[in-house]
Subunit: 206 residues, 2 copies
């Protein structure tokens, strides 16, 4: 198998952190250079028509994409430690938390950065700066919700570390770069404490 | 169990169509009136802080939200017919297809409508019409991709009807209303034929 990633891109990080938590070290990693447009090359798009990383090429040639779907596949191959739920009920509650991280926080961070950051003008076909700024405000609103949640619990869900923690950390660290968003500076101490605790896991620097 | 839905809203439809495919008829359905702001009432927000439908209240009082997470739970309780994959590999490929329907098509349709339709000004805090219009162009681009895909296959994935078909139909029918988007009018005959075939399933009118 080959995993296509891109240095410092937040979505591939979700998969590499997931693999590190499971101790998976036998999958070859191939870097795709987004700034030179390698993801839009004929070779890459033949494999991955939406021109996005990460993508996992299986031994039989099939290509799996979308960070979370790749994790579902790896969870099946490497079930321990369980990061996505054992049984329908756990799987459902973890997916709910993961989707909330993803659709409400991660997507708003991505929209804000893509539509406001000069360095990303080349990756985004057209930037809408006012929309991007409003998405930045939304990030703060959603982060406040998570801060309240994390005031009374150690983990995002299930009282243990799961994929939902990976997605939340990757979203927060993505916001830390171009948006310079730091929970503590917004008075979100519980979220900052959670972030610092999770960022200390070896998988976070994988 | 109680399922909170809203008449004509596309995300609750994903769950009601999923339930109809499985023949689930024993879950009470409660309508939430979005136009009078019932989803922002204290009572609803205490249960569902993100103020969104659908939400499934379980027998023990816990509340599960996010359409796809609710489907994961129901798939566990009612495994037949399988709509989300048997085993890690099938689950991963179905989730990839479902996320592509959801993140690339459904989300662009929703962004276009929320940011351009006068009737939704009251639901969207601030509308960005130029961003919304660009998202409408994106819908067409993604729809073209699906049209190519559906030229050579009867189903979105796995050669059978899955949750990915539900999400794609709900996205297309959402676009048909306020956006007046019809695949055939854009020259997307394969997508139109697929849509008409799936819309004829009894679950589509559930």
């Amino acid at each position: 198998m080959k995993l296509y990633v891109a240095t410092r891109a937040p979505n591939p990080r979700r998969v590499t952190m997931f693999m590190a938590e499971k101790g998976i070290h036998d999958i070859e990693s191939v870097n795709v250079d987004l700034h030179s447009g390698e993801h839009r090359s004929d070779a890459f798009m033949a494999m991955r028509p939406f021109a996005k990383v990460p993508a996992l090429q299986l031994g039989d040639g099939r290509v799996l994409s979308e960070a979370r779907a790749i994790c579902v596949y790896l969870e099946g191959l490497y079930p321990t430690p369980n990061l996505m739920g054992a049984g329908g009920t756990e799987r459902a509650f973890i997916e709910m938390a993961d989707r909330q991280d993803d659709l409400y926080l991660f997507a708003s961070v991505a929209n804000c950065i893509r539509h406001t950051h000069p360095g990303l003008a080349e990756l985004e076909v057209r930037q809408f700066a006012d929309f991007g700024a409003a998405q930045g405000d939304r990030v703060l609103g959603v982060a406040r919700h998570f801060d309240v949640l994390l005031a009374s619990r150690k983990f995002v869900t299930m009282e243990r570390f799961t994929i939902a923690g990976i997605t939340l950390l990757c979203a927060l660290d993505f916001a830390k770069g171009p948006m310079k968003f730091r929970p503590a500076e917004q008075g979100l101490q519980h979220m900052q404490a959670w972030r610092d605790r999770i960022a200390a896991r070896p998988s976070a620097s994988a």
